[in-house]
């Protein structure tokens, strides 16, 4: 469908349940009508920051920077977008459903969850790999990747607390500190 003027656009956005937009103005109009809006934008766009600031939203919480085309190769662009866009789209769909059918929804963004029954991931690999192969420890990438972790019991507690009274809310569920893969490797050596 092709809108002939701005009011047609407004009518279309008002009729739908969620908007995915690469155009800032379209996103603003859809926000004006209270629609969950996923901005699928190139990075560094000042307008995005403006909108976030006057909606009172924090940049750290709402900008997922996975589309910096100059820094990624083809595969990583798709991989990163695939992961983050799917996640954000899922959150927005939750918002749309909550609004449409009148129930409450909460999106919890978990950091890497670790705990007693962990069977995969960096921590598991580093603590169990030396037992199988004592001569070497493989680190994927340069080891400077920074990750935040959360203990399973804290994650469960956050999930219970996260039940919200408002119609829709998003929470980053993690710890305030972070650690590099290299540091985990050093610590796991000591544990082993």
């Amino acid at each position: 469908m092709a809108p002939q003027n701005i009011f047609d656009s407004a009518r279309i956005f008002n009729s739908c349940d969620m908007v995915v937009t690469s155009r800032m103005h379209a996103g603003i109009v859809s926000l004006a009508y209270g629609k969950p809006t996923l901005f699928f934008m190139p990075r560094d766009d000042v307008k995005v920051l403006d909108i976030l600031s006057y909606l009172g939203l924090s940049e750290e919480r709402y900008i997922i920077d996975s589309f910096n085309p100059r820094e990624y190769d083809k595969l990583s662009v798709i991989r990163n977008l695939d992961k983050t866009v799917k996640r954000i789209a899922g959150e927005h769909m939750g918002h749309a459903y909550a609004k449409l059918y009148g129930f409450r929804a909460v999106a919890l963004r978990y950091a890497n969850v670790v705990g007693p029954k962990l069977r995969h991931g960096v921590v598991w690999d580093f603590t169990n790999e030396p037992l199988r192969n004592s001569t070497e420890q493989v680190i994927l990438g340069d080891g400077n990747q920074v990750w935040s972790y959360i203990y399973i019991e804290d994650a469960v507690e956050a999930t219970i607390i996260g039940r919200t009274e408002t119609s829709y809310e998003v929470y980053n569920t993690g710890s305030e500190d972070w650690i590099t893969v290299d540091e985990i490797a050093c610590k796991s050596k000591r544990w082993a």
Binding site: I6, F7, A10, V19, T21, A26, S53
Partner: protein, 198 residues
């Protein structure tokens, strides 16, 4: 006289009769940079009263590409009596060019659409959950990133597949530009997305 020649020129010859001018919201960016400069400079010649611009954003990427012409932009912006910007981030950039007392932050005009058209009505026959997608192509061509455009389309296609398969939604592809005969219009982005070369 103003009827038979271009209005701006006519008014200029006629004795600068405009009492004020209001330039609508836009972004100072790479592609329209010189058009904007021309508009700002011409505006001052044909207006004897206040000159107001409302509300603008300033694209950091655009300014980086037009770094050599920042002096001209400064001169052009200094011609305005009041400059409204869209938000805090856009406010910081023009403060380097113009007197901050002339700058003010305001809400984007897009929010005002709702005041003008509160009851736009809904489309009849809408049964399922609808996701509206507004693609674009011009960004990639403006900034010489056309090699990334196919990747952008690929990701958008993937997102559409995910939305349809996992959430069972109806997808509407909506252009947000008026019908354009160039490759930069949204309609072309939609055709590219659908794999329908034009």
């Amino acid at each position: 006289m103003a009827t038979y020649v271009r209005p701006a020129v006519g008014r200029f010859i006629d004795g600068l009769k405009y009492d004020g001018r209001f330039i609508g919201g836009h972004t100072i960016e790479y592609a329209a940079f010189f058009d904007d400069l021309l508009t700002y400079n011409c505006a001052r010649f044909v207006v004897k009263g206040p000159l107001i611009i409302y509300p603008i954003s300033v694209s950091l990427i655009g300014l980086k590409h037009r770094e050599r012409y920042l002096k001209a932009l400064r001169k052009a912006l200094q011609r305005f009596d009041v400059i409204f910007v869209r938000g805090r981030c856009s406010y910081d950039i023009p403060t380097k060019f113009v007197d901050p007392s002339r700058l003010s932050v305001t809400l984007d005009s897009g929010f005002g659409i709702r005041i003008l058209a509160e009851n736009t009505g809904n489309f009849v026959g809408k049964r399922s959950l609808v996701v509206c997608i507004v693609p674009r192509s011009n960004y990639f061509y403006f900034y010489n990133l056309s090699q990334l455009y196919p990747r952008y389309l690929l990701t958008l296609k993937h997102l559409i597949r995910v939305l349809i398969s996992e959430f069972d939604v109806e997808i509407w592809l909506v252009p947000h530009t008026v019908k354009s005969s160039t490759r930069l219009g949204d309609e072309y982005a939609i055709h590219d997305l659908l794999g329908d070369p034009r």
